[in-house]
Amino acid sequence: MRGETTHSVVLDPRTAPPFPEAALPILRNTQLRKNVAHATDVIQAKRARLVVEKIDWQELRSAAAAIKNEALAHLDQYLTEFATRCTAAGGHVHWAADGEEARRIIIDILRAEKAAEVIKIKTMTSAEIELNPALESAGIHAIETDLAELILQLGDDEPSHIVAPALHVNRSQVREIFARRMGRADLSDDPEALTAAARSYLRGKFLSADAAISGANFLVAETGAVTIVESEGNGRMCLTLPRTLIALAGIEKVIPRFQDLEVLLQVLARSATGERMNPYSSVWTGVIPGDGPQNFHLVLLDNGRSSILAHPTGRQTLRCIRCAACQNTCPVYRQTGGHAYGSVYGGPIGAILTPQLMHLEHAQSLPYASSLCGACYEVCPVKINIPEVLIDLRAQVVDQERTRTARAFDLMYIAMRLANGVFASAWRFRWAQRFGRLALWPFTRKDGWIHALPSLGGRWTMTRDLRGLPRQSFRDWWAMRAKEKP
């Protein structure tokens, strides 16, 4: 991994290895761990400064959560209102029940426009539905214009972070990718030079593209407006220059009123990039005569969101505004980066969103990819209680397991069931303690510590010693002391 590009990475929750397995090779990639730690430290520090400065930060979080809750509680009404107003303003609103339908809608639009090339703004939603490969198959070449996405596209790679998708790639890797794919052997690995190369590479594309594809940060029901925030300006290029614009948005992106942005923009920028406002934020409504794309399509995507909405505990997941503050603070993500989660959504939000989008048919290891430390909940601008959702998802995974015959061979399952039986009575518990002492005695060295255990225990002792079970438990000491007292 030293200066080479990564091999082609595919993030598909349906086929990705379980988290512990996926994490293993990545843990051995010290370059990536260094990159992730550095990137997340930078953003966290910037965020922390601004949060301290914002004396009404907790009130803003509460307000942001309340706004999103209101939108979700009346989602049918706000979606309909949004669609009506967007259409009245000249936009075409499409509804896609799943990713396949969304891909078909988008390809049909582009074919009707005879667009052979389409420029794209970074949108995780399009990665979620695997849009780019589908476009390629349909003979439509998609060009990512966000610098990070461009790096990933040219490097046949996948995003590892929601806001800074290429944070696992270092400058010499970028240089190598650009040299190979842009034909720029002259480039140094100076980020300034690399960015300039991307700028000139994309300039021509912006001016000649017939169509653009974007996501959306917020859809305003009150007016039918779409809001996109960004740093580079490639968004403005894509939203303004081509003739046709297609915006793809999950149904949970709807907010009730334009004025709700006064809360959401404040919390989003600080959480995502540690800025008071993103360098560029754009609001547009349908088609504006004489300004920008005269052919605007908005694709509303369900793809599992409505089933998350039905779940009392999981519903809060849909409040997410994709700021990635949870990823930046997560001590697990810090060591593994995003690819280990096997999904375009990684880190804490990925651990709850991906399994739910998959209806828990896949990605069942993700809810366990957490030590439940709660740091994510602390920073979430819309107060998603991620640990609560993780625990709830774990309960759902176990309930699935209870019905499978394979559980009889699952050591962990058996151990948990046994333990429950043991905890049901003090008598059993005391005997289990004695049995444990006996069973561990052969593994206990002279210094009273255990250095190696078999089976599940070996997962502990691979990196940690375990002090041998003391001869006398606390309750035995207490009982003995009570006997000794007059």
Partner: protein
């Protein structure tokens, strides 16, 4: 003052010296302790691994056992967090009205050790003597679940002879996470490795915390690496005095 000690399943089995220290400490402060021998586990391990029904049966047992306790003292922030944060939801979903009522009545009487000392007994200075360099790791459940805040520091600052060295990134998770340490042993170890860098750079003699779970994880790696540092539960520091130093409890 009376209080019931809930020792926790893992302290009982693996760290009885912490329990002995709690007894010594609280009795020294004039508390009459009782120990219900029927106690086993609070159900956290099962709840956090997804075994809700099992966790519920342990939860309702706990509530039943301590119905009449004046106070319940628990030397483990994760267990108290389980009782405060998860028991209400468990009993809401699986329990009866009566059980929920009993829980509501019990919750205000449940204390983590440092909470019991500073809030219930109203003391910062517990008369402790522990002449060593010590660093403190903020266990996640205590930090973010219980909001213990500066209680441990107030207590540590009054310990005679103790030199407290602030741990960098003290609020970063050590990587234990219960069954996470087994199910995701490699990632858990990577997090531990990062934590150890900060812990070892304090050059303290002891690393302390409010939870033996974190300390078992940290201490296990310190022992594996022959590090010149040991872990010790805060209770043992606080129970330590000139006449009865911490080592004698082991």
């Amino acid at each position: 003052m009376r209080a019931s000690l809930f020792i926790t399943c893992y302290n009982d089995t693996l760290f009885p010296e912490t329990g002995r220290a709690v007894v010594r400490l609280l009795e020294r402060l004039g508390v009459t302790l009782d120990f219900n021998p029927e106690q086993t586990c609070c159900g956290q391990m099962h709840a956090n691994t997804g075994f809700r029904a099992e966790a519920f049966s342990q939860a309702k047992r706990f509530v039943r056992l301590y119905q009449n306790a004046e106070s319940v003292v628990i030397p483990s922030t994760s267990c108290v967090a389980m009782i405060r944060d998860q028991y209400p939801g468990l009993l809401q979903e699986l329990g009866s009205d009566g059980q929920r009522k009993d829980l509501d009545a019990l919750l205000p009487r449940v204390f983590e050790l440092s909470e019991f000392l500073t809030d219930r007994l109203g003391v910062d200075d517990v008369g402790a003597y522990f002449p060593h360099r010590v660093t403190y790791h903020a266990s996640c459940h205590g930090l973010r679940g219980l909001h213990v805040g500066d209680r441990p520091f107030r207590l540590l600052n009054k310990v005679r002879g103790l030199e407290l060295i602030v741990l960098e990134n003290l609020d970063r998770c050590c990587g234990f996470g219960g069954t996470f340490s087994i199910k995701n042993a490699e990632v858990s170890s990577a997090m531990l490795s990062a934590k150890l860098q900060d812990v070892l750079s304090t050059r303290a003699e002891y690393c302390t915390a409010l939870d033996n779970s974190c300390l078992m994880h940290l201490g296990g790696a310190l022992h594996r690496g022959f590090a010149a540092m040991r872990t010790v539960h805060l209770a043992e520091i606080l129970a330590s005095s000139e006449s009865v130093p911490a080592e004698s409890f082991a």
